[in-house]
């Protein structure tokens, strides 16, 4: 059972992700952050619910929309900011950027710029756990768009076959780039596909962090016990446009749908539950907000004043890694 404190921590984690994305949007507009940036806004309950069910040494594979996963898995916010600003002090020394956040110490095995590209990779760490007799589990995040890549079929079958300690978490946020999911999914429930591979296919309320958390815990137990993979589909909603430069078509954002999902805001939902069930103080969200802003100020300051990667240093490593001297 989660303690009150833990639940408040989850509330805070979701708020951190929410505020992180808001700030990144601002930094992007101001030119401090460049490249392809995909916000996780509205989906916070998935990353936070899932990652809270994991240990630090469990593995996760992330996507192009990976800020939330990184934060929920415990990466240093400073380093994430620095990475997105292309600094030497970034998570990946500025080599990865928004779509390629790696933090091996915290079990973050990378985002991916290729939709569906991370799915087969996740087989590997799960295989390694089984190989070494370790109980570390792997979570593979992907969204409903990726479920239509070939890698989905190949990976889920292999994982099921060998009962790998692997949890497929499909963040069904109803969009892939500009395309609503009803145009790309022949069955609206990705979870349904699990039957064909003899593994459990579970649907979670992706805007309800405790539901995600509980269902993940079950899957994690199953995985640690050697009983094999689970496919968890978290139904959620991509609140923002696909990325900084792609706007949605109005006909794909019906007012009713947008409002319906706004009413299901994952942070609001948890806050309300905490108030009802745990007698949470009314102003705690404001307090948390302040803490977060404080932390962010320092982190952004750190990132902005960090050096860019050193070109000579890079060339030195590159020369030996890629045999450039041949040229």
């Amino acid at each position: 059972m989660l303690t009150r404190m833990q639940k408040i921590q989850m509330l805070k984690s979701m708020m951190i992700i929410r505020e992180f994305e808001a700030l990144i949007k601002k930094l992007y507009k101001e030119g401090d952050v460049e490249g392809a940036i995909h916000c996780y806004t509205g989906e916070e309950a998935v990353a936070v619910g899932v990652c809270n069910a994991l240990r630090k040494d469990d593995y996760i594979f992330s996507t192009h929309r990976g800020h939330g996963h990184a934060i929920a898995k415990g990466c240093s916010i400073k380093k994430v900011f620095a990475e997105l600003m292309g600094r030497e002090t970034g998570l990946c020394k500025g080599m990865g950027g928004s779509m390629h956040l790696f933090d091996i110490e915290n079990g973050l095995m990378g985002g991916n710029g290729i939709v569906g590209g991370g799915i087969p990779l996740s087989l590997g760490t799960a295989y390694a756990s089984k190989y070494k007799g370790s109980d570390r589990v792997t979570v593979c995040f992907f969204s409903e768009g990726a479920s239509n890549q070939g890698t989905f079929n190949e990976s889920i079958n292999m994982a099921a076959l060998w009962k790998l300690p692997l949890i497929f978490v499909c963040e069904n946020n109803l969009f892939a780039a500009t395309t609503p999911s009803y145009k790309t999914l022949s069955h609206p429930d990705i979870a349904k596909r699990a039957d064909g591979y003899s593994i459990p296919g579970i649907i979670a309320d992706g805007n309800h962090v405790l539901d995600v958390y509980e269902k993940t815990c079950k899957a994690v137990n199953r995985a640690r016990e050697g009983e094999g993979p689970t496919l968890i589909e978290c139904k959620t909603y991509r609140v923002e446009g696909h990325c900084m430069v792609l706007k949605d078509l109005p006909q794909h954002r019906p007012k009713q749908e947008v409002e319906g999902w706004a009413d299901k805001d994952p942070i609001d939902i948890l806050e309300k539950e905490l108030m009802q069930d745990e007698g949470l103080e009314k102003d705690i969200r404001e307090q948390l907000y302040k803490e977060i802003q404080q932390e962010f100020n320092e982190a952004v300051q750190y990132a902005k004043t960090s050096p860019f990667p050193d070109i000579n240093e890079f060339m030195k490593i590159a020369n030996s890694r890629y045999q450039l001297c041949e040229e």
């Binding site: 390629h100 768009g145 239509n148 500009t178 395309t179 006909q251 890629y322």
Partner: protein, 325 residues
């Protein structure tokens, strides 16, 4: 004449061909109502409906497989792959199916299809969104490879590609999409396999294509006085080697510049052909100037040094002209 953008030129070419031939259709991710994430296909869905502007799931092998099969059945698909880097997810239908089906069938089949894809580097999108992979497709017998560098060529070459009866990899660079140029209306096309001499010159031949051409032009502007013959290849397969050779026979010097990395790139191939066909005319060694042979790092500072650099082109031209490094 009207001045239109590269993007608009692409759009016009497709619409004109769709108008002319009911068998032409577009297919790809976000190409329906949205008109493609680059916007190249705006208005097509509205005008021609969903079957002829088919939005797909994120299933590149499915898209290219479908296109190949549709071509077998007599349609003329124009598929869009958002970034060339994503062709890694559908190499089999491109290389083992589309490129080979006509031969394998003993010429019972034709495979008239175009794979429009967007390539290049320079937008801080890191290593999986920065590749120029034309050499892979040049190395695959059965494919044509087209890389227009400007709106006029984009229109004329795309029309020819759609009319061609074999699979064409049609490469567009996102940094060119907003370029504007005079482009005539009407039924003209630019034949595949004809290079364009951008300007004539006597001292050195420079061969380039696509976005790299701009960097070459920038580089040439650095010289006060230089008589360079600049060739825009336009199509890599078939390659207009005659135009290159003729030029080299005149200038005795050649530099090939492209975004792709140098190792086993198009430049190396051109060096091979020039050496084979014009060795005795050379006053200096043919050189290639390309991207740095590393996966592209995200950070702008690092990406900048990984791209084809104007200064590097300048340096190599200088060396070829003077022998001084």
């Amino acid at each position: 004449m009207r001045r239109i953008s590269y993007l608009k030129a692409i759009n016009e070419a497709i619409q004109e061909e769709m108008e002319r031939d009911n068998n032409v259709f577009v297919i790809g991710e976000d190409v329906g109502e949205y008109g493609g994430v680059w916007g190249a296909l705006r208005g097509i869905y509205e005008k021609y409906g969903a079957m002829r502007a088919q939005d797909t799931p994120i299933s590149e092998s499915g898209i290219i497989g479908l296109a190949t099969g549709a071509a077998m059945a007599g349609l003329r698909p124009v598929a869009e792959i958002m970034y060339m880097d994503f062709l890694t997810t559908c190499m089999d239908p491109v290389v083992n199916q589309a490129a080979k089906a006509d031969l394998m069938s003993g010429w019972q089949l034709k495979i008239p299809m175009v794979i429009r894809t967007q390539y290049g580097i320079g937008t801080r999108e890191a290593s999986q969104h920065s590749q120029s992979l034309e050499a892979w497709f040049m190395h695959t017998p059965g494919l044509k490879v087209v890389v227009p560098s400007n709106p006029y060529d984009a229109k004329g070459l795309l029309k020819a590609s759609i009319r061609d009866d074999t699979p064409v990899i049609f490469m567009e660079n996102r940094l060119l999409y907003n370029d504007i140029q005079d482009v005539p209306e009407g039924t003209w096309e630019i034949p595949l396999g004809k290079a364009k001499i951008v300007h004539e010159g006597e001292q050195i031949t420079i061969v380039s294509y696509g976005h790299a051409l701009k960097k070459v032009i920038n580089a040439l502007n650095e010289f006060n006085e230089i008589s360079a013959e600049l060739i825009d290849l336009r199509t890599l397969v078939p390659m207009d080697i005659d135009t290159i050779i003729e030029s080299v026979k005149k200038t005795g010097r050649i530099l090939i510049a492209h975004d792709a990395v140098e190792k086993c790139g198009a430049g190396a191939e051109i060096v091979r052909l020039v050496i084979e066909k014009a060795f005795d005319y050379l006053d200096a060694e043919p050189l290639v100037c390309g991207g740095l042979g590393v996966p592209t790092p995200f950070s702008g500072k690092l990406e900048d040094i990984c791209m084809l650099r104007t200064e590097a082109i300048v340096g190599k031209i200088q060396y070829l002209l003077t022998g001084i490094i």
